[in-house]
């Protein structure tokens, strides 16, 4: 058995592989069945909507170029912002993965090494049960800080300048510049730039106490129409 082709193909090749897959992959999948995967649409929350509408006001031209004008009717405007926010979140996630952001920034606060004091609450399973964690963005190396509680910590202006020229804000940062997300200046993000900003502001927005480490008074959730 141990030196025969059948033993090697069936027991070692397929059998042991299947055993590992059952015990290490199927078991957690079954354990998380009670937490259904959220779609991107279901991920849009008040905090994120606030940030997204904030982008529309900070970068009005860029926003209009990317998404057009919201409808005049308040009800329609509400769902219009939700739709555009969903588009932005998807594209932002794609850019975050495609640029390899996740190779230097984790999205996973560990229960050790004082990480909860630096970034906020330790990561829980339910935070990852969504479409944008397919594959999961736990991360692999932290050259820069963890980003899973980054949303709302800094303004979108700060994030835009930081993406355009990191060293302008973080002295000595080894982070590369991302000028191709902008039309030549940090106040002119392209559609891709706005999408990435939306994605960054989404990170951690699902927490009730949001954001972390800044004195912050929660903003009532408003649609653009109601605020006018």
């Amino acid at each position: 058995m141990f030196e025969r082709k059948s033993g090697i193909i069936l027991i070692a090749g397929i059998g042991f592989f299947a055993l590992a897959f059952l015990s290490n992959a199927v078991v957690p999948v079954l354990m998380y069945q009670h937490m259904p995967e959220k779609t991107v649409k279901e991920l849009i929350n008040g905090n994120l909507r606030y940030q997204f509408e904030d982008l529309a006001q900070r970068f009005p031209e860029a926003f209009e170029n990317a998404y057009g004008q919201p409808p005049a009717d308040p009800e329609q405007a509400g769902s219009w912002y939700n739709d555009k926010c969903e588009t932005a979140l998807r594209l932002g996630h794609q850019i975050y993965v495609g640029e390899g952001c996740w190779h230097c920034h984790s999205q996973f606060v560990r229960p050790v090494s004082n990480e909860d004091r630096r970034w906020g609450p330790v990561s829980k399973s339910w935070e990852y049960q969504n479409e944008l964690q397919r594959p999961v963005m736990f991360g692999t190396r932290r050259v820069g800080p963890d980003l899973s509680r980054e949303g709302g910590r800094r303004s979108s202006d700060w994030q835009a300048v930081h993406l355009f020229h990191p060293e302008a804000l973080s002295v000595g940062s080894p982070m590369p510049k991302y000028p191709w997300l902008f039309d030549g200046a940090p106040d002119k993000p392209t559609a891709r730039g706005l999408a990435l900003l939306t994605y960054i502001q989404w990170l951690g927005s699902w927490h009730e106490t949001y954001p972390y480490y800044e004195d912050y008074i929660p903003v009532p959730i408003k649609t653009a129409a109601k605020s006018e």
Partner: protein
Amino acid sequence: MSAGTNIVASDRNFPKHQDLVEEQLVLWYFVAALLFMTVSMLAGTLMGLQLIRHNPLPSIEILSPGRWRMIHTNAIAYGFLANAFLGIMHWVIPRLTLRPCLDRRLSYLIFAAWQFVVLATAVGIIFGQAQGLEWGETPVWIDPVAQLGLLLVAINFGAPILQTRGPMYVTLWYYLAALVWTFLTYAMGNFVPEYFVCGSSAGAVGGLFIHDLVGLFVTPLGWGMMYYFVPILLKRPMWSHGLSLVGFWGLAFFYPLQGIHHFLYTPIPMFLQYGAVLSTIALELVVVTVIINFVGTLYGTGGLVVTNLPLRYFYTGILFYFLTCLQCALQVTMTFQALIHFTDWVVGHAHMVMFGVFSMWQLGVMTYLVPRILKTEWYSAKWCEWHYWASAGGLLVMSGDLILGGLFQGWSWAALQPWDASIRLSIPFWSVRLVAGVVIFAAQILFMLNFYLTWRKAPRTNPVTIPDSSGLTTA
């Protein structure tokens, strides 16, 4: 490397070497492997320069260091390691089974298809289409092509192995299992976390994938190669057949069970994390048996490691393998993980495995096979020596430096220092790493130049016998 004795009984009608091995294809695979290694090392150098804030080409979208970091890892795994393994398998499998691969045209088709897969992966990554899984960055539209390619590889190499009668040699156990494992691993990693599961479950599958890719694709192909070449170079059988069995079955059982150890302290259930930790430590015991077997095989002829360059490559790799696995058994514990996870320690460990072990072995095999295929000595034996010392020395400095740097990063984070303190303290380590990397890179360039000049001076005709044979069926 000295003239071997012909142990083949002359009255048996064995197939001739030139009917079995497609030597030209072996060389082509080596050339492709070395070209992708150049790409990978260029990418690594770019990322290394970025980290110390001296990127000479900033602000260019298609030269984004984040994208080229993925080129670095993918070009090494799929461009260098896979190509070199395929080339070496085209030499080893027909000679062990005394049967050629299934179809000569299929062999060349696979060669072309694999280069397409690797190049398309690189192009996809450069244009920002990567997937979010390490080594699974291959853009989604290439995954089915790569999967088909792996199926063809399994058929082409599986056919001669399955046709053999009687007991199989150790190398073929590893190769046969690896053909099955690589296909399954690629399918699991590239489709399941992308399309079927999310979150912590995707993390568990992703951990399995990155670990199985090392453990079930690279490792068995690497050890299969060692079980073939080491006894040939030493002209003696493996020390213990029993230990060979323990090594293979231990690896087959314990290796796939440890994927989750890449994600300790995550929300993945704790009992699964502990299971992965235990099987990792168990594997270390298996690894010791394999090391004992290879040291036992060498016992009494240790001096050959000094004089025989390919053998020196092999045993250097074996030494690094022992070190990485020992390191693995320690760093996988929760205590170590608290400190070193997410630091450069892990990067140092990965370089020691991928370059110090498997690339060193493959470079050793290339050093051994190229003169045999080209039927001429190396253009410069001295350059071969330089290649060895700069590769081994550079790697030792690089991984030692990163492992040490990782400790300081971990302590800086745990002490709640401002984030930029961990960057500042890393700069000296990153600088040393860059220098070590450039030394390794220069060594490979020298090797490629040596390869080219050797090829140029090779005789154009194909003599029937190999002048400096290794003592196998070349009659």
